[in-house]
Amino acid sequence: MIQVRSLTKKFGPITAVNDVTFTVAKGEVLGFLGPNGAGKSTTLRMMAGYLHPSAGTVAIDGIDIAADPIAVKRKIGYMPETTPLYREMTSREYLAFIAEAHRLRDAGQRVDQVIETANLGAIRHQLTGTISKGYRSRLNFAAAIIHDPPVLLLDEPTDGLDPNQKNEIRKLIKNLSLNKAIIVSTHILEEVEAMCSRILIISEGRLVLDGSPGDLRRSVPRSPAAILALRAQDKSAAESVLGCALSALGTGPAGFERFRLNTAERPASLCARLAAAGIDCEEACYCEAPLDDAFRHLTRTKE
């Protein structure tokens, strides 16, 4: 659905986006990650037709954006990071303007639908210059989906929302993903786990990872470790049975504490050895690298 090839953007001597290539298929939600200033917004702006690429191409549904920008823009729902709005319009007027620009036949009906979907009923007749940050985001989100486009480009769609609203928008995005190709830029890693099937990480304008959240975890070199939940008083006994030190992680299930140990042994066999020694083990699992460790590892600037 989306094909991006060797996309490059130079601002004077600075290369903001450097030779980025990827594709997104229908049904995918792509998490677009990277530190601030890595080139996420610049990439999305080129894809939405706001900035001209210095080199490379963007094609949506097989149509090159340079060849037929209007046809491509019809297929894209774009939510800018800055959540711009026309202050002198009410929320409903704003959506009606966007609907008209997309030449929707059933404009009035679609406007009411997206007001419902994005939960904007309360500010329907309020001037957009006076609404809160959360509403601004959701109004921009509503404007992006109003023409039911096959491609959604969302630049930090949950920025400024409270946790409940974040959850709602994530659910909406997941629901929409069935028949769309969606790119969501964010720097909230839990969000990526919650809704993305694929991750793209960009650092200093270059792609550094294209894979699943699991690929991201595995990308960080790390000594293997396991986590066990034991009774606090069994700690020293367990250490002598297993032959390695346990470091406390915090409270676990009722009456148990979680411990971490550096070992390549499988959690199940650790459990079995403890049971043989008469020590209760409530929980045993691999200790995966947290996503933000992996993120930091990949995007750390080379000094």
Partner: protein
Amino acid sequence: MHSAWIIIKKELRGYACSPLAFIFLTIFLAFQMGFTFILGRFYESNQASLDIFFSFQPWLYLFLIPAIGMRLWSEEKSSGTIETLATLPLGMPAVIAGKFLASWLFVLAALLLTFPIVITVVYLGSPDPGPILTGYAMSWLMAGAFLSVTCFTSALTRNQVISFVLSVIICFVFLLVGFGVFHEYLEFLPIGLVDFLSGLGFIPHFQQAIRGVIDLRDVIYFISIIVFFLILNAAVLDGSTES
């Protein structure tokens, strides 16, 4: 052209909702009448014509048209809505034309609201309707030329004040080069060049129409100015997405 129409409607609604637009109308009408009756001594002139009324207009436009147009692009840039506008399936030429036309229609409304002066002249004497009609028509066309300059300067910056000042400066040059007095200072230049420059001024192309003559060359002149600055406007907007 449906895209341009969408933008025209949006911009006109912007004017209708804006207190600034009404302040502008009031100032425009007050100055227009003030110039004509007080500075121009309309009654003392004892003429049933709008010569005096029209001859002040270029100087009034010099400040008021940049004030109308300064927000056109600067506001879109400073509020970030230009990103929305540029990513909607409208096409920039249609958006540029739509913004210009909407403001031009607003100027037309302001111009038509000066109708009491026409009633006054008709009531006091029996004026020749020809010069009044051609004067109004060419005045609107000239206002379009001022406005296109402002569209261009507005696209240059996100700051409305800068866009206003730049526009006044450029328009002032266009007024000066067509102003007889100014030519004495250009005597060091070849005569051909002075003639060329004076031909570029707004006023000489307007004066014919006040006398009741519409010269096709004047019409072409103003339309060329409008098209030229709107093309510059497009180039500036394209450039700002390029660098």
